[in-house]
Amino acid sequence: MEVTLTVNGAPHSLDVPDNALLVEVLRERLGLTGTHVGCDTSQCGACVVHMDGCAVKSCTVLAGQADGAEVTTIEGIGTADALHPMQEAFRDCHALQCGFCTPGMIMAAIDLVKTSEDLDEQAVRDGLEGNLCRCTGYHNIVRAVLAARDNM
C-alpha cells in the first residue's frame, strides 16, 4: 500500500504493509526515532506526535489513516541551536529524568498550550493525563509547561 505524508515539512511517498502503524513508519522507515514506543497500548503517550495540528498517539494510528496528513514529530519543532520554547522550558526546569517520556510529553504539552485558555496547574495535570512518566517526575514537568505557556 502506498502512503503519502508530509513529515516535519518534507513530503514522503512510501510503500508500507496494510497494517503498518504511523509510529512504525516514522521510526523504522524515516529514522525519526525521537518518537518512542512505550506501552504500545495507547496509554503512556510516549509516541505522541501532531497529525494535522492535533496531538495523537502514533502507536494507535494506521499508516493508511495518516495518508495525506501533515505530521510533526519531536525532530520537527526545533534545532539543537534553537530549541522550541517547550524544550527550553523542560531543560530549564529539569523536567526530565530518564528522558523516555519526554518527546511525547513535549508534543502533548505544545498542543495543550495551543488549545487551552487560562492554563493553570490543575489544567496542565489534567491535560497530560495521557502521558505517563515512569520516573514520576511530574512536578517539574508541570512547572516546565507553565513556564513555556508564557513564552509560546
Binding site: 504493509p17 497494517n19 497500548t41 505522541v48
Partner: protein, 263 residues
C-alpha cells in the same frame, strides 16, 4: 497485528460495497478501540474499511435537538460551546473520555457502534433517550445496545449521526478506572419530556436504563430520594476491576453524584 487489507472508503455507498465484498470486513472510524483490539489479536478481520475520511459524517448541529455526526471527535463535542449551552452533561461526558489524544481521534459513532460495556457515550444514548441514525434507518436509543459488544446494527450498517433531545436537566457522573479512564461505572441522570431517565454504563454487559433508580427519582430529582435505594447485582459484570456487588453499589453512588450536580 494479523495481516488485513486496508481499504479507504470514499462514500457511504463505497464503504457498503467494500463491506459486501469483504470476507470479514470491519469499519474503522477513529480507531481508538479497534486498533488496540487488532494489536492484541482479539480480532482478525480480512479487511479494515476506513470510513474516517467521510467528512459528511462530521459536525455538530444544535437546534431543537443536538445532532452529532458519527465521525465527530470527542474533543470537538467537548469544545463545542453550542453543545455546552444545550446539554452541558454531554460536554462533561465527552471531556472525560480517555485522555486528550484519544479524544482527538475517537468518534461518537465508533464508540456507540462498539458497545463497549465501559464506554461513556452509551450512557448518554440511553440516559438522554437519543436516536441513532444509520445509512438505513433510525434506531431508538433504548433498543440500540443489545449485549456485550453487540448492538441492533445489521451487518454492514453504518451509523451516520446520533441525535440527542435537549433535556430539561441532566448530569453525568463516572467512577473512572484510574489507568484507562474507562468507566467502572458511569451514570447519566436526565429529565426529558417530564420523565426521569437514568442511563448506566460500565456496570452491565452493555448500557441500560435502571428501572430502580428511575422509580426512586420519579417524584423529583433529589439526592435524598436515593437514600436506602439499591440496585440488583445479578446481571452486572465482575472482573479484576470490580465485583458485581461493588458495581451495584457504585451505580447508586454515581447516581447520587449526578443528582447532586443538579441540586
Amino acid at each position: 497485528m494479523y495481516q488485513f487489507n486496508y481499504r479507504k472508503a470514499s462514500s457511504l455507498e463505497h464503504a457498503a460495497d467494500l463491506q459486501a465484498n469483504a470476507e470479514d470486513g470491519v469499519y474503522l472510524a477513529g480507531g481508538m478501540t479497534l486498533i488496540p483490539t487488532l494489536k492484541q489479536r482479539l480480532a482478525a478481520p480480512s479487511d479494515v474499511i476506513d470510513v474516517g475520511g467521510l467528512d459528511g459524517l462530521r459536525g455538530i448541529d444544535v437546534g431543537a435537538t443536538v445532532r452529532v455526526g458519527a465521525l465527530t471527535a470527542h474533543a470537538e463535542v467537548a469544545a463545542s460551546a453550542e453543545v455546552r449551552g444545550a446539554i452541558p452533561a454531554l460536554s462533561d461526558l465527552a471531556e472525560g473520555i480517555g485522555d486528550a489524544h484519544v479524544r482527538n481521534r475517537g468518534t461518537i459513532g465508533g464508540s456507540v457502534a462498539n458497545s463497549d460495556p465501559a464506554a461513556d457515550y452509551p450512557a448518554a444514548v440511553v440516559g438522554l433517550g437519543a436516536t441513532v441514525h444509520t445509512d438505513r434507518r433510525s434506531i431508538v436509543g433504548d433498543d440500540f445496545f443489545t449485549d456485550l459488544f453487540e448492538t441492533a446494527l445489521d451487518e454492514g450498517e453504518i451509523i451516520t449521526s446520533v441525535e440527542f433531545p435537549v433535556p430539561a436537566q441532566a448530569a453525568y457522573a463516572k467512577f473512572p478506572n484510574p489507568a484507562s479512564r474507562y468507566a467502572i461505572v458511569g451514570v447519566m441522570v436526565a429529565e426529558v419530556d417530564d420523565a426521569v431517565r437514568v442511563g448506566v454504563t460500565g456496570a452491565g454487559p452493555c448500557a441500560f436504563r435502571s428501572a430502580e433508580l428511575e422509580a426512586a427519582l420519579a417524584g423529583g430529582l433529589s439526592v435524598s430520594a436515593l437514600d436506602g435505594v439499591s440496585v440488583s447485582s445479578g446481571d452486572l459484570n465482575s472482573d479484576l476491576h470490580a465485583s458485581a456487588e461493588y458495581r451495584a453499589h457504585l451505580v447508586v453512588v454515581m447516581a447520587r453524584r449526578a443528582v447532586a450536580q443538579l441540586t
